[in-house]
Amino acid sequence: MMDKRLPIFKVFLIFFTALLCGGGLLLVLFGANLKDDIRSKFDGQKWQLPAIVYARPLELFPGKALSANLLVKELELAGYRNEKPVTSPGGFFREENRVHLKTRNFHFPGGLERSIELEVGFTESTISSLTKPNSKEHLTLIRLDPARIGSFHPLIHEDRQVLKPEEIPPLLKTALITVEDQNFNSHYGIAPLGILRALLANIKARRTVQGGSTITQQLVKNFFLERERTFSRKFKEAIMAVLLEYYYTKEDIFTAYVNEVFLGQDGSRAIHGFGLASQFYFRRSLDDLSVAQTATLVGMVKGPSAYDPRNRKSACIARRNLVLQTLHDKTIISTKQYEQAKAEAISDVMVQKNGFNRFPAFLDLVRFQLRAEYKEEDLRGKGLKILTNLNPQVQWKIEQTLSQSPLQLESATNLKKLQGAVIVTSRESGEVEGLTGDIDPFGTGFNRALDASRPIGSLVKPAVYLSALASGYTLASPLMDTSISVDRSGKMSSNMDGSWTPSNYDNIEHGRVPLYLAMAKSYNLATVRLGMNVGLEKVIDTIQKLGFSAPLPKYPSLLLGATEMSPFQVSQIYQTIGSGGFFLPLRSINSVLTQDNRLLKRYGLQVEQRFSPALIFLLTHGLERVLSEGTGRSYQFHSDKKFFAGKTGTSNELKDSWFAGFSDSHVAVVWLGRDDNKPTGLSGSTGALRVWGSLLETLGADSESPQPEPTDEIDWVRIDKTTLKPARGWNTNTTELPFIRNTVPVTKKQQQPGHLNDLEQKTKNFFESLNRIFQ
């Protein structure tokens, strides 16, 4: 019988065919599995984009109180380049008392504000002129693009500015393809010949000198996979690259690559994509980059750390020049461009640190106010643009004043652990212009402005006096500043046998005092008597109408501030007083835009009148007196032309030092204290007032605007300080007080119906005696 065994080669053929089919099947199944991963990640939103937070836009107009130095500081905060001449948007230079700048395009809620070139002239600390440099056309009002002050990053701490295909400059595209993957437009994701070529080169050099990965493979590696150097990862990368090329266009893949590529580190923030990298390294948008700068970024793709222009200048220059050489050899750039680019310095600007949050306490407030409407992942991942009301000039002044306060407060006994919080708002709009929750302006821990609930002490008294004024009391109403005792039922007596016996700060009883003086000097006894007469319920209602919404204890001690509030809550209360009786919710945010500049939400002006202007006018006058003759008189303001009003507050044992009040333009609250709740040795007037006064004196309005005039209901009357009645002409023991019309105090005699004055009485007597004669 013949041997029917198959020839060996046939066996191998069958085996090989089976292996190929099996392998192919596995490959198909593997690919099908990967396909879903690719489609799910590549379609839709590819990246988690941080929300970017901006300060208020700076408005410029002739007559504005602003110095050239401050304008330059604002421009630097906004990332403007200092260059002469100004070559593109985002540049400026200063010549003595003139600043020349070119603003950047910015999408505001009302639409796109286009870049404009202008010259700002200054006379001392005021803008004297605004002109267009070439035409000398005079401008009346210009709004600059706002400064980026921080961001809410995704947990992976990547940052990027996503570019659309049409936003990628042609030179960048050509340079990248030439340097990284010259066959990009013709291969199908992998380049076997390129891999082979790289392999041979690496074997020859006995180290890795060449990469064989295509742009597609690089994208797959960075976008989908981990950075492990294993064969399986390489295999997977190759399959995915082919699949990516199958399902997406070259343009999709290249755009994703331009936005994904890692190009450096800024602290904990990873710089991804050419869009952000051009801003980060050159403070320019991508289409403003020079040939040399484009070549620098392209060269950094191979190794952002190795070719970092900040600290590896020579390696960076060498790599850049190699890229330029390649571009020249391929006639992508001319010889002239090549020579010019080679001669260019690596960078003409300091790297702009935009990644870290410059004003962390303020950003806490922004996040808090957004939390009601946005999930945390949306804040961190959707690329929202948050336009806030932060005024950098106000914020700098707050930080400077507060950080210097321990040095200035010599009377404090425990300065080392002194902490503080300050909030400043616009008096007429309730916009939060500055906030800090730590003596250290960069402190990112406990935010005392928002979260420290502390006893407010005498800060509550304006609510007591406002309730009294609303109940018919006047600033001249006599009060008794004498000992008082309050029992559990709230009944007052002078027997000192009740459960609560308050006392004055100086332990002195001042007897009969006018209401304005009791407020100015913060007499406890008079305040308690007044508050109990007016009614605790009424006072609580006033506090709540002023803007404090949380429950309040219905104890008489509330009249002296035995309740806790945060500086932010106190700020809301004094905002209502400062704005003339209008409740204006404190707002840190102006509007929120999507990544593509659609308006999502606006936080516009909302006003609600809760107290009559006349009553608030009286109260404000009383608060002015706090500073002129009351507990705040020790602070000497440098200008007597400016308006200031406010109230000191000191808690028991000098643990908390407060001052809350307002000037022409701003409302401000200052708190000083210790986190361990130990005494600071500071009262409201020796501590917080010093910071407050120093701060408010330097803050001014954008434009001159007069103080609100007294309403038509107000009469000014000269009052005898002893009798508290209208004074006669020769009396020098007097003071002028405002009264609501028809509430001016009268004498006892004048209070009786059908009363007569002395002369009339004498005349009447004369006639009566005359009558008796004739009877």
């Binding site: 007559g63 009002l141 516009g604």
Partner: protein
Amino acid sequence: MKIPSHLSAYPFYPTCHLLLLISLCLTLNGCGTKTVFPPSATRPQPTSGPTTRHQGTVQEARTSVPIEHGRIKPVVLPNPQLGPAGSLYKKAEQHLAKGSYRQAELALERALRVEPRNGYYWYSLARTKFGQKQYAQARQLCYKSKTAAGGDKALIEANDFLISQTKRKIIK
């Protein structure tokens, strides 16, 4: 008046008395001063709302805010006090005329950031809110405008009129 008995014998006594009285009155009138009693210190009613002193001067004939083509017709206030943000105010008025309330609102809020005490800007914002049918807020903005109006009667009256219109709308 009873004539004393010891004088009753004098026939001209009543006339003399009368003449004496008249001359005394005339003399005293020349010497005396007119005394004005200050109003008694009665406790005023707490004002829970704003003052509207000029409400009575509003022309009753006007029954509604001038409307043209469904949009608020601009009320041209004589001599509006415009400052550095005047261009924004004018822009806002143009937007109002076209019914572009959001744009008007944005321009006016920007203007108020520059000049927070300009009563004209607040008034314009009140009209914007009226156009957006936010009548309660429009009224509050009128109150705000009035506090910044000072002695500007035209502005105060314009606000009072708009307040009355918002009240009608709210009642409806």
